[in-house]
């Protein structure tokens, strides 16, 4: 750590911030791992600001609340959630890793407790932190998954734990490098609802482990369980409609539920369909203007209904067979066409919502674009659709350049941050 006056002063500051937090919240007190977080904050903020930023980071549900509890339940739960995520997104790798006896807890714990501060490339650490400030804890899963994607070929070749685990605990420089990690992060999509879905799945499994119920009829497959969980979590109100859709649609369509608007990415739809959708959307816009007094919810549910019927259309025309979607899914994000569930979807998701939950961590977020990201005006909306269209027709390489993803407004926001 060095004996220079700056280093000594830095350590003293770190010590004071950590002591202050331990006194501020004696229930949590001091935990190993906090020093990593406080140190990053101190590099950007004054001592007092760093303290308050640490308080927010450790206590807001959006960030790390509960993770430093004495019980460590939440971190163990999150490890299971990541394991499920890996199982679904990268089944082959997940199987390989579990086969070598490496539990997700081994590598997930440092991710959550030190937020990737141990990555060997500092600019990448800061990029991850910026994303984390913006989107919250889901970014940890996203970054973790991204590291796995980059390491996948290497990990699959490793025959035992003594090679694999150190690689995960000390991510190699070539993968951590900004030019490798950050573009990959852009291409890795982990939605909040996806994490929530895995959370429920893990909770259900825990419950079943504790009190195994007598099985009614045939034992449920994991797929059926996920479906159930997703349906329950998403607050399935339109029972009839949705159950029909659930049966007919490819599996990743489950988010078509009124209560949480998660319109599917239509980047893989054909051009004609997109045009039709545009038409419908413009009518939605018209009605939205008319219905403004009734609030956004109405608009949202309308759009959902339309989205659903569009999806069914796609199904009938054989645009996406369940088979192909299955294949895409199982091949993992590494081989996934870029257009599939891209950032655009997130813009859709955000558009009817108010602005992001802004944490008072402003000193770190000085570059955040304050306007224009929460709602999308009509012309922007159309240009977005155009952009998506082009996007879907262009077979992009896996590590597409940042400029390719600029079509999404939120990406633009992220871009400014990074």
């Amino acid at each position: 750590m060095g004996d220079t006056p700056e280093a000594i002063e830095g350590q003293a500051k770190l010590f004071r911030v950590l002591i202050a937090y331990a006194k501020y919240n004696p229930q949590i007190g001091y935990s190993q791992g906090m020093s990593y977080l406080a140190a990053v904050l101190l590099m950007h903020l004054s001592e007092e600001e760093a303290f308050w930023a640490l308080v927010i980071l450790l206590e807001r549900p959006k960030y790390l609340s509960g993770l430093f509890d004495h019980s460590l339940h939440k971190i163990q739960h999150n490890a299971k959630v990541f394991q499920q995520l890996l199982k679904h997104r990268m089944p082959q790798l997940s199987q390989h890793i579990e086969g070598l006896g490496v539990s997700s807890l081994h590598y997930v714990m440092p991710w959550f407790l030190t937020l990737f501060t141990s990555l060997p490339c500092w600019d990448s650490v800061l990029a991850v932190w910026d994303l984390l400030m913006l989107h919250g804890i889901a970014v940890v899963f996203r970054t973790g998954l991204c590291i796995f994607q980059l390491l996948e070929p290497r990990l699959l070749r490793m025959p035992d734990m003594s090679l694999l685990l150190p690689t995960l605990l000390r991510v190699p420089v070539d993968v951590s490098r900004y030019s490798a990690l950050v573009p990959a992060l852009w291409n890795t999509e982990v939605q909040e609802w996806e994490i929530d879905c895995m959370h429920s799945l893990v909770l259900e499994e825990d419950r079943e482990e504790r009190c195994p119920e007598p099985v009614e009829g045939a034992p449920k497959s994991l797929f059926a369980k996920v479906l159930d969980t997703a349906r329950r979590y998403l607050g399935d109100t339109g029972k009839e409609d949705d159950s029909r859709e659930m049966k007919n649609l490819p599996i990743h369509r489950s988010p078509i539920v009124p209560s949480r608007s998660k319109p599917c990415s239509f980047s893989s739809l054909r051009r004609g369909q997109i045009k039709r959708r545009k038409k419908i959307n413009s009518s939605v816009k018209d009605s939205s203007q008319r219905l403004q007094s009734q609030g956004l919810v109405t608009v949202q549910s309308q759009r959902n209904t339309i989205t659903s019927s569009m999806d069914l259309d796609g199904e009938i025309t054989g645009d996406r067979t369940p088979d192909s979607s299955l294949r895409r899914k199982s091949s993992g994000p590494a081989n996934r066409p870029l257009g599939w569930r891209t950032q655009t979807q997130r813009v859709w998701k955000k558009s009817p919502k108010p602005q992001l939950n802004k944490a008072p961590l402003s000193p770190l977020l000085v570059h955040q674009a304050p306007k224009g990201s929460s709602r999308i005006s009509a012309p922007e909306y159309d240009s977005l659709l155009e952009a998506t269209d082009t996007h879907s027709r262009e077979p992009s390489p896996r590590h597409s350049t940042l400029s390719k993803t600029k079509s999404s407004l939120e990406n633009a926001q992220e871009l400014q941050l990074i």
Binding site: Q32, L72, G99, L169, F223, V226, H252
Partner: protein, 213 residues
Amino acid sequence: MSETYDFLFKFLVIGSAGTGKSCLLHQFIENKFKQDSNHTIGVEFGSRVVNVGGKTVKLQIWDTAGQERFRSVTRSYYRGAAGALLVYDITSRETYNALTNWLTDARTLASPNIVIILCGNKKDLDADREVTFLEASRFAQENELMFLETSALTGENVEEAFLKCARTILNKIESGELDPERMGSGIQYGDASLRQLRQPRSTTAQSKQQCSC
């Protein structure tokens, strides 16, 4: 890539926070002192192949976090360990007093036949000593532990600690006291075909399933 060895032993490094567990491991693996050592979050891992009594043994070493609150997690690593380094800091009586707890954990959670060596670390800081050699060796004797004072800084007795532990395990295997084939012994044969016996948990069927969300 994969070395050939006769046995594989699972080792643990346990003890209170700040006693120098990670530095001991680093010194053993890299042969140098880890200058700016950070706290271990959860667990660290290292392995090295050593030669003990004419046999090549791969040591698979799990270095655990020392802070009390991590115990609930680090305990899960104890299962099936063949040997352990129980570390305290000779300049801190507090870390010495905690040894009983660590010992109980190790004996109950790892295999009951686990071979433990007590390491009084930071031997180089003799001026600040709070625990005498005699006192600690008496404790070791009472609890049937081997004992060494080590220094991760100078490297004194570090290699010896790991090797002594490995040698004892090997002797116990040869005398029949330890059975490598018993589940959870923390010992595996190096022979590749035998290693395959330890099947991974059956996750195959599940992982084939797809998610709907």
